[in-house]
C-alpha cells in the first residue's frame, strides 16, 4: 500500500505525502484541545513513547445501548503521518452516526492508509499506532463496564523461544522498514537465540513484506 502517485513518478524512495495526508495534518479533525471534563468520555487509551518517536492518546464516548462510537478525540506527538492517520481514524469511526464498536475494532492500518491515499512506505508504522491506542481505549471501556470477558488479548505467537520474539515483533520490524533477517535482528537489537527458528522468522519477514509492501 504505497503512495500510488509516487509509483507513477518512479520516485524510488516513496517519500512524498499525499494531499489527503497533508489535509489531515494541517487541519486535523476531532482534536482534544482542552482537558476533558470528568465523565465526559467512557474510556481512554494511550500507546507509544516519546523515545520511539510517536505517542498517541485516544478518548472515546460509547453509546451503551447500541455500542456506537459517539465521540472520539485524540492527541498525538509524532510526525505528519502519525497525526494524519489518527485524524483520519477519528473521522472513520465517528462518521455516519458512529461505527459500532465491533466494526471499529476491525479497522486495519491498511484501511486507514487507503482513505489517506497511501503513506510513504517508511512511515507505515506510524498509522499502526492509532488502531492500537483505540484498542487500548476499548479494553479500558470493557474494564470500566465490567465486561472482562470481552477484553482483547494480543494473540502474539512466540517464534524464538530463547529470546521471546513474537510474530508481532517481526511484523513491527517489517513495518519499520526491515526487509531481511539481518535488518530484523538490527531492529530488534538481538541476534537469533534459537537457530531452529530462522526458517519461520524468514517466512514471517516475507509474509509481512508482501502484506504491507507487495
Amino acid at each position: 500500500m504505497i503512495n500510488k502517485k509516487n509509483k507513477k513518478t518512479g520516485d524510488v524512495e516513496n517519500w512524498v505525502y499525499s494531499d489527503k495526508v497533508r489535509e489531515h495534518f494541517f487541519s486535523p479533525k476531532n482534536l482534544m484541545l482542552k482537558d476533558p471534563k470528568k465523565e465526559e468520555f467512557s474510556a481512554e487509551g494511550q500507546v507509544g513513547s516519546p523515545a520511539c518517536g510517536d505517542v498517541m492518546k485516544i478518548w472515546i464516548k460509547i453509546d451503551k445501548k447500541n455500542e456506537r462510537i459517539k465521540k472520539l478525540k485524540w492527541r498525538t506527538f509524532g510526525c505528519a503521518s502519525a497525526i494524519a492517520s489518527t485524524s483520519m481514524f477519528s473521522v472513520m469511526v465517528t462518521e455516519k452516526g458512529g461505527m459500532k464498536l465491533q466494526d471499529a475494532l476491525k479497522i486495519k492500518p491498511q484501511d486507514i492508509m487507503k482513505r489517506l491515499h497511501g503513506l510513504p512506505a517508511r512511515k507505515v508504522h506510524c498509522s499502526v499506532l492509532c488502531d492500537k491506542a483505540f484498542r487500548q481505549a476499548v479494553n479500558n471501556y470493557f474494564r470500566n463496564t465490567k465486561q472482562y470477558s470481552r477484553i482483547i488479548v494480543d494473540g502474539a505467537k512466540i517464534v524464538d523461544k530463547n529470546l521471546n520474539i513474537t510474530d508481532k515483533d517481526i511484523e513491527s520490524a517489517v513495518l519499520d522498514g526491515a526487509k531481511t533477517l539481518q535488518d530484523v535482528q538490527a531492529k530488534l537489537k538481538v541476534g537469533v537465540g534459537d537457530p531452529s527458528a530462522i526458517p519461520e522468522i524468514e517466512q514471517l519477514i516475507r509474509f509481512y513484506n508482501e502484506k504491507y509492501y507487495g
Binding site: 524512495e13 517519500w15 497533508r22 495534518f25 494541517f26 486535523p28 482534536l31 482534544m32 484541545l33 494511550q46 516519546p50 523515545a51 520511539c52 518517536g53 510517536d54 505517542v55 498517541m56 492518546k57 492527541r75 498525538t76 506527538f77 509524532g78 510526525c79 505528519a80 502519525a82 497525526i83 517508511r122 512511515k123 519499520d176 522498514g177
Partner: protein
C-alpha cells in the same frame, strides 16, 4: 510566497560566478581529458588549472588532490581505501580504525562495513557540548591503529573539533597512524591549510560551498598507502576511475576560491545572526534547549530541541510558511532513527525527536530570521496543545 532557505548545511544555492564558469566550460570543453588529441588535451588543461588553484588553497601539491563524485565518495575512499591496504598483511585482524560517535553516515556506514570485513573499529564518545574526548582518543591509539577519522565541524550541531591539536597528539602517540577529517561543513568557514592542520586525508565537497552538487575531492598526502574503491580507466592516479566531471571540477575550484576569499567577513556576519536567533528562540519559546556548545561552533549552525513536539511536524508547518529547515529527528527523511549526534551528547530520545536544525548562509538576513521568530512560537504552541507528551526538563 517568498522562500526563506535555512538549510545551507544540506546544500547551498549555486554562486552566479560558479554557474557561469561551468556553463562556459560545458559549452566549450567537451573533450575527454584522457584523449590524446587537442580537444581532449584542452579539457585536461582545465582540470590541471583547477587542481593547481585548489592546491594553493589547501597548501598542498596538485597531485595530492583526487576529484570524486561527492563528499560521501571521498569519505568512503579515505577509510575503505586506507584500511583495505592492510587486507593481506598478517596483522590484518589487528588493524584498527578509530572514529567518533558524531560522524556523518558517510563515515559510520563504511566503518561498519569494515567491521564486517574483520577490521577493528572503535568509536569514541563526545562530551555533552559535542567535543571529542581527547583523553579517550589518546588512550586508544596503539601501534595497530592504522587510521583515525574525525569530522572537522559536525553537520548537525556545528561543533568544531580541534583538528590541529588532535593531529599533533595522534602523531606523537604513533607517527604511522593516518589522520582523516571530513571537512564538508567546515570548508566555507575554517582553515583548510593541510600543513597547518597536520592531516593526511581530507574530504571536501562542492555542494556545501555554493558550488555544484555531485563533485567532491579527497586530499591524500603524498606517500599515503591507499587503494581505490572504483576500478576502471585509472584516472586520478588510479584512485578514482571514470571520465572526469570537467565542468563540476571547475565549479568546485571556483567555488572554493570564492568562499575562501570571503569567509572571514561572512563568518562574522553569520555569527551575529546566529547568536541573535538562538537568544530569541530560547527566550520566546519555553522548553527549548540548544544542542551543542555555543563556543567553537560553525557560524551558520543552530540546532535546538523543542520538547514535547516532534521535529517533522514543525518542519512541515514551517514549510507551509515558506521556511526551509531540517530535523535531527526520528522522522527525518530516509532514516527513521533518532539523531545519533544528539543522543551522543547524552541527551534522551525526547530531545533528539524534537530537534530542528536551522543553517544560515550568504543570503540570510535578519529580516528572514525575524519572520521565523514571528511564526515559529505559534507553531510550537499549537503542536504542544495536541501533544500528549510532557517531558520534564
Amino acid at each position: 510566497m517568498k522562500q526563506i532557505y535555512l538549510d545551507y548545511a544540506s546544500t547551498t544555492l549555486i554562486d552566479k560566478t560558479v554557474a557561469k564558469a561551468m556553463t562556459v566550460c560545458q559549452a566549450k570543453i567537451y573533450g575527454n581529458p584522457g584523449s590524446l588529441h587537442q580537444v581532449g588535451q584542452l579539457a585536461k588543461k582545465e582540470i590541471l588549472k583547477a587542481r593547481t588553484k585548489i592546491a594553493k588553497i589547501l597548501n598542498c601539491k596538485p597531485e595530492e588532490i583526487i576529484f570524486t563524485g561527492s563528499g560521501t565518495e571521498s569519505d568512503n575512499l579515505a577509510i575503505l581505501g586506507v584500511m583495505r591496504t592492510n587486507r593481506l598483511s598478517p596483522a590484518c585482524r589487528q588493524a584498527g580504525m578509530i572514529t567518533t560517535d558524531i560522524e556523518h553516515h558517510a563515515i559510520l556506514n563504511p566503518a561498519e562495513q569494515l567491521g564486517k570485513e574483520g577490521y577493528k573499529i572503535l568509536k569514541i564518545g563526545v562530551n555533552k557540548d559535542g567535543f571529542v574526548d581527547l583523553e579517550e582518543l589518546k588512550k586508544n591509539i596503539s601501534s595497530e591503529t592504522v587510521l583515525v577519522s574525525i569530522i572537522y565541524a559536525n553537520n548537525e550541531i556545528g561543533t568544531i573539533q580541534p583538528i590541529k591539536e588532535i593531529a599533533k597528539m595522534i602523531k606523537e602517540k604513533n607517527p604511522k597512524t593516518l589522520f582523516h577529517t571530513d571537512a564538508c561543513q567546515a570548508t566555507g568557514y575554517l582553515d583548510l591549510n593541510v600543513q597547518n592542520l597536520g592531516v593526511d586525508l581530507m574530504t571536501i565537497n562542492a555542494g556545501k560551498i555554493y558550488g555544484p552538487k555531485g563533485v567532491g575531492l579527497l586530499y591524500v598526502k603524498a606517500g599515503t598507502k591507499i587503494e581505490p574503491i572504483i576500478f576502471g580507466g585509472g584516472q586520478e592516479r588510479g584512485l578514482r576511475s571514470g571520465t572526469e566531471n570537467v565542468a563540476g571540477i571547475i565549479g568546485l575550484a571556483t567555488a572554493l576560491e570564492l568562499v575562501q576569499k570571503n569567509h572571514k567577513k561572512e563568518s562574522l556576519r553569520e555569527i551575529k545572526l546566529r547568536d541573535y536567533f538562538i537568544k530569541q528562540i530560547l527566550q520566546k519559546i519555553p522548553k527549548t534547549v540548544l544542542n551543542g556548545s555555543l563556543e567553537n561552533r560553525l557560524p551558520n549552525n543552530i540546532n535546538i530541541s523543542f520538547l514535547d513536539v516532534e521535529g517533522e511536524a514543525m518542519l512541515l508547518w514551517l514549510d507551509k510558511y515558506g521556511i526551509c529547515v531540517s530535523t535531527g529527528s526520528a522522522c527525518d527523511s530516509l532514516n527513521l532513527d533518532p539523531s545519533h549526534v544528539i543522543l551522543a551528547l547524552g541527551k534522551p530520545y525526547e530531545y533528539a525527536n524534537g530537534a530542528l536544525r536551522f543553517t544560515l548562509g550568504r543570503s540570510t538576513t535578519k529580516k528572514d530570521l525575524d519572520y521565523v521568530l514571528k511564526v515559529l512560537p505559534k507553531i510550537v504552541a499549537d503542536l504542544r496543545k495536541i501533544s500528549p507528551v510532557r517531558v520534564k526538563i
